[in-house]
């Protein structure tokens, strides 16, 4: 069994990005600039955004954090999005989700200029991804593809089973791994809460992607000997063993499942660290105008 060390790969990629930024700056070009809009003071969102800002510093990006209180109106937020769309100094930006209920998430996402939508949530980016045109792919699917690529895991002709059909992981993942690309060319099965006899499906997987958000849901008897297992789950569960009072659990019962795997991602340290790196990569693409 080989551990897929997302943390190690993420650090490598950050170094690669940093050296590319240095080259750009040495050539007299401006530093890539990522902006993040944060509405309110949700603990998780604060942490994520802080990590993103820190990651920008590490690779030499400029970053801007734009904060609003919970009571900002939809119109005001849309106005700010428009402003960032038109601000040439900003290459890409994100609106940290969730946003308050009185603001339409879809309206905000659709207001973002697709060429600056480095989260890859705009329908144009999703649609372009589906038909194989250049696009910003959202962070988690993009990170998983990169892990598969860097570990030279064969995907062509393999049966990939994905559990969970979310808009930001399961669905795009199912499209990406079925494309006529490398990584890609998988036979892909997308499963979800309505799937009957799930273990009989997951046991067929050469590559199993667990993205349902249910801690330790995938047990030993659901996995084929020699499978590649990618664990996207990161649920906070209470813990007396950590300072914070919680720990992250994946969707896979690691101790049971890992001995059967050819490759497996740990939680934490697997897919998680790749997501911020995907955002940085998209921002670099945006700065270089490589997609649009």
């Amino acid at each position: 069994m080989q551990l897929i060390q997302g943390k190690v790969i993420a650090d490598q990629i950050k170094e690669e990005i940093a050296s590319e930024v240095k080259e750009l700056v040495d050539m007299g070009k401006k530093r890539p600039h990522l902006a993040a809009i944060l509405v309110g003071h949700d603990g998780g969102s604060e942490t994520y955004v802080a990590h993103k800002v820190k990651a920008c510093e590490q690779v030499g990006f400029e970053s801007s954090l734009i904060r609003f209180e919970d009571n900002i109106s939809e119109d005001e937020l849309l106005k700010k999005v428009q402003e960032l769309n038109n601000d040439d100094s900003i290459d890409g930006f994100i609106v940290q989700l969730p946003i308050p209920d009185h603001i339409s998430e879809n309206k905000v996402i659709e207001a973002i200029d697709p060429s600056k939508d480095v989260d890859g949530f705009h329908p144009v980016n999703l649609g372009r991804m589906v038909i194989g045109l250049p696009s910003y792919v959202s962070a988690t699917p993009s990170g998983i593809i990169e892990l598969i690529r860097r570990y030279n895991i064969e995907t062509s002709g393999k049966h990939c089973v994905i559990v969970g059909r979310s808009n930001i992981v399961g669905k795009p993942m199912s499209i990406l791994l079925g494309q006529k690309t490398n990584p890609g060319n998988c036979t892909v099965t997308l499963c979800h809460s309505r799937t009957k006899d799930l273990p009989s499906v997951t046991r067929q997987a050469d590559i199993l992607i667990a993205a349902l958000g249910a801690p330790e849901f995938v047990k030993e008897d659901m996995v084929k000997e020699g499978a590649v297992v990618i664990d996207v789950g990161t649920t906070r569960v209470p813990s007396t063993e950590t300072k914070s009072g919680f720990r992250l659990k994946g969707d896979v019962k690691f101790d049971e499942v890992s001995p059967k795997c050819s490759y497996i991602t740990p939680v934490p340290g697997g897919v998680g660290p790749m997501t911020i790196v995907s955002l940085l990569r998209n921002t670099l693409l945006a700065a270089k105008r490589d997609v649009y």
Copy 2:
């Protein structure tokens, strides 16, 4: 075995649309108006467009056919697209594909205002479909969903296997049938040329959708007893038995496979007649501003 009579359903839907158009007109509203751009004189395209124009007449739509010669420049075509985007008298329009090689198909499709893209080929419509927002769904997937709905075929929890990963059939179909909708909630497997041991996969299908464009590819030993089989193939093969000198063959070997099926679509008369009806339905939605 029950035959899924696409022709009969399509005629029913046309009557429904016609009566809705009559209501609109009686209320003093304008008739829905579909425009089609046809470049060159490809025989297949001429036929398809003629059918579309005729179908518009049948349901009481206005229609406009805009013709260009093969040597039209990309700029001229894009200018016409822009003109139709801005023409309030036109509710929806299509550019009949294929277009000549010197014109970028993607550029033309992306130039169409998504709210008038009744073919559902624009990335925005595809992307909105993926995340479950209102959108124009392209003709074949939309027609198949409607057949499943009208025949009350149970999809929830069923295993749907799709063979063929085209942008206009296989990929959107895989997303639609996996959505948390009815029809929908299928466990979906998307297969293609790189799939290993395809018969072992297709034999698992409760619902099998053949959309690879290879005449009579799906044989008896690839289908489970009691399966629902949807045949999207329409390949012209030479024939001495028809006036035209050819006949349409599906992707399924009908005589062998049909006795095993609970439901099956014939070719011709199955999925085919539904595609034009889907275009009419999208145009009606456009006229009523139901999507955007």
